[in-house]
């Protein structure tokens, strides 16, 4: 079976973002970028399914300008077979991303689409669920275990109270949580090999979808800063401060 893995280029997770002085957005100029960590887990899971003989082909896909080819090459180096870039200079809403992916799902007919549960930039946590709705597929979000069994996939999900396992008819959508796997590092030979793997570029405009923005970003501000506190010398002092100064314990 074919597995489709949509991935996103985002700020590196170790980098603390800065807000532009004019409050129009965050400043990403000269910022280190990387594959979104949850998307990397998605690629790893798909590659493991292929190594286990469950998947036959892993296709990575990203939507963005030419720079996202860098992350697609990373996915290819991790073991994806081929890549698709849907080219656009716009920053699209999750719904429009899902609509573009829906077209690719219709064309490629994957049995499984594995996505990261959220991107660490917009923190929306929407695209996988929206794609599931548009394609009429069931969804296993926040996955920590994925087991394909015949015509179904069992997905164990990280939920507020612990874990929940659901059985989904294939084809299905899975979104990854942190404990699903630990992604491998791409080896140098695989990075070299990835340069020769196919990467198709398709302009977003060719999909015939109305990509008008549904939301408007009015401003972006820095969060309220906490005042730096004090360092206490002893547990006695700590307890005294919590009781009499902060008044949070009695």
């Amino acid at each position: 079976m074919k597995v489709l893995v949509p991935i996103k280029r985002v700020i590196d997770y170790n980098v603390k973002v800065r807000v532009k002085p004019d409050q129009s957005n965050v400043d990403l100029a000269n910022t280190k970028m990387a594959i979104n960590p949850f998307c990397e887990i998605a690629v790893e899971e798909a590659v493991r399914l292929k190594e286990a003989g469950t998947a036959t082909e892993v296709i990575a896909i990203s939507i963005g300008d030419k720079s996202c080819q860098e992350q697609l090459r990373t996915a290819l180096a991790l073991g994806a077979d081929r890549a698709i870039q849907i080219e656009t200079d716009e920053s699209l809403d999750a719904l429009n991303i899902a609509k573009l992916l829906q077209k690719v799902v219709e064309e490629e007919q994957p049995q499984l689409v594995i996505l990261g549960k959220q991107s660490i930039d917009s923190d929306n946590n929407q695209t996988g669920q929206m794609l599931a709705a548009l394609t009429g597929m069931p969804q296993g979000t926040f996955a920590s275990v994925v087991k394909v069994e015949g015509e179904k996939v069992n997905v164990t999900r990280e939920v507020d109270g612990g874990l929940q396992t659901v059985a989904l008819n294939l084809p299905a959508i899975v979104t990854t949580d942190l404990r699903l796997n630990e992604p491998r590092y791409a080896s140098l030979p695989n990075i070299m090999k990835a340069k020769r793997k196919p990467l198709a570029v398709k302009p977003a405009a060719d999909f015939g979808i109305d990509l008008t923005a549904r939301t408007k970003l009015l401003k972006v501000t820095p969060p309220a800063q906490r005042q730096a506190g004090i360092v206490v010398e002893s547990i006695d002092e700590l307890v005294e401060k919590l009781k009499n100064e902060a008044k949070v314990i009695s």
Binding site: N125, A133, D160, G161, L168, P223
Partner: protein, 308 residues
């Protein structure tokens, strides 16, 4: 304007977070209906009818909704959506699961994790792990919104709403529930606790988390963890506080052996008072802590327990 709020519950009790989501609905302004979709959930319905500011409770009691399967719940909400301009759910794992599905079925964008309401179409939400705060305007006629409860206080439970039973059954038939493996704890939920004590990688192993128990008992606290502690297998996933785990804002948050990665800070930096116990004076957690103590946690915890 009419607002539909979807109740968060486990068929036996209404989650306290729903009271905060209703507060967000009140800030938007309009006639508020609360939907209880579940199975054998009479207690939830009773609690829902008492939520202040709610004029009507819609009840869909059917096996199809017992486990809040996104495929089934989203069809139900979509079917009811015609009567409402705003549809709100709590940004917990259940709401995060089915709401984007609702939005896509309605062909509208979703505004996730709002922490404030500026007007009926403009909302405030954290992005980049809370390192930036975005003000976003929805251009759709219908707004689908999830609410981060740390941004809103709970409404009172002295209301008396009309209860309307619906016999709508929307079973998509493409997914089923297999099993739950839920953590059983006598302690308060992380989302509801006024005091939280969390352990990180510095705890060294799962057994050492027992050192937090005595303190948690004395303070009536919930116990949380950093991603590092969960990834290392010290404690289960539902204890994770952070950008992609639970977002909390208790009166007192005690971080023990937690360095303070931006992803962890994103989940707790709105706490009223933060205490950090860490032996590394350079740990970033000290930059957000009101009270820090540089010491070995294995000395500090027994002493703290004895002095509370």
């Amino acid at each position: 304007m009419s607002i539909l709020v979807i109740a968060e519950h486990d068929n036996s009790s209404l989650k306290a977070e729903t009271l905060k989501t209703v507060n967000a609905a009140q800030k938007i302004g309009g006639d508020i209906t609360l939907l209880v979709a579940g199975h054998d959930c009479q207690n939830v319905v009773e609690a829902a009818s008492k939520v202040n500011g709610v004029s009507k409770v819609l009840v869909c009691d059917n096996a199809a909704y017992e486990h809040q399967l996104a495929e089934n719940v989203s069809l139900l909400v979509t079917e009811l959506a015609a009567d409402y301009e705003h549809i709100l759910a709590t940004a917990l794992t259940t709401g995060k699961n089915f709401m984007p599905r609702v939005a896509a079925l309605l062909d509208v964008a979703q505004i996730s994790d709002i922490i404030d309401v500026e007007s009926s179409d403009t909302f405030v939400r954290p992005i980049y792990a809370g390192n930036a705060i975005a003000t976003v305007q929805s251009l759709d006629s219908k707004k689908v919104i999830t609410v981060r409860t740390t941004g809103f206080d709970a409404v009172a439970t002295d209301g008396n709403a009309e209860v309307v039973n619906l016999d709508t059954v929307t079973d998509a038939g493409i997914s089923s529930h297999v099993s739950d493996e839920l953590t059983v704890s006598e302690r308060p939920d992380l989302g509801a606790a006024s005091v939280i004590i969390s352990g990180g990688r510095g705890m060294q192993n799962g057994d050492n988390f027992k050192l937090l128990d005595g303190i948690a008992d004395k303070l009536g606290a919930a116990i949380g963890a950093s991603r590092a502690a969960v990834d290392a297998g010290f404690v289960p996933n539902d204890m994770q506080v952070g950008q992609t785990g639970k977002i909390v804002a208790p009166d007192l948050y005690i971080a023990v052996g937690i360095s303070g990665a931006i992803q962890h800070l994103a989940g707790m930096k709105d706490s009223k008072v933060i205490v950090a116990i860490n032996k590394d004076p350079e740990a970033p957690i000290f930059q957000v802590a009101d009270y820090g103590i540089v010491t070995d946690l294995f000395d500090a915890l027994p002493e703290l327990e004895s002095k509370l």
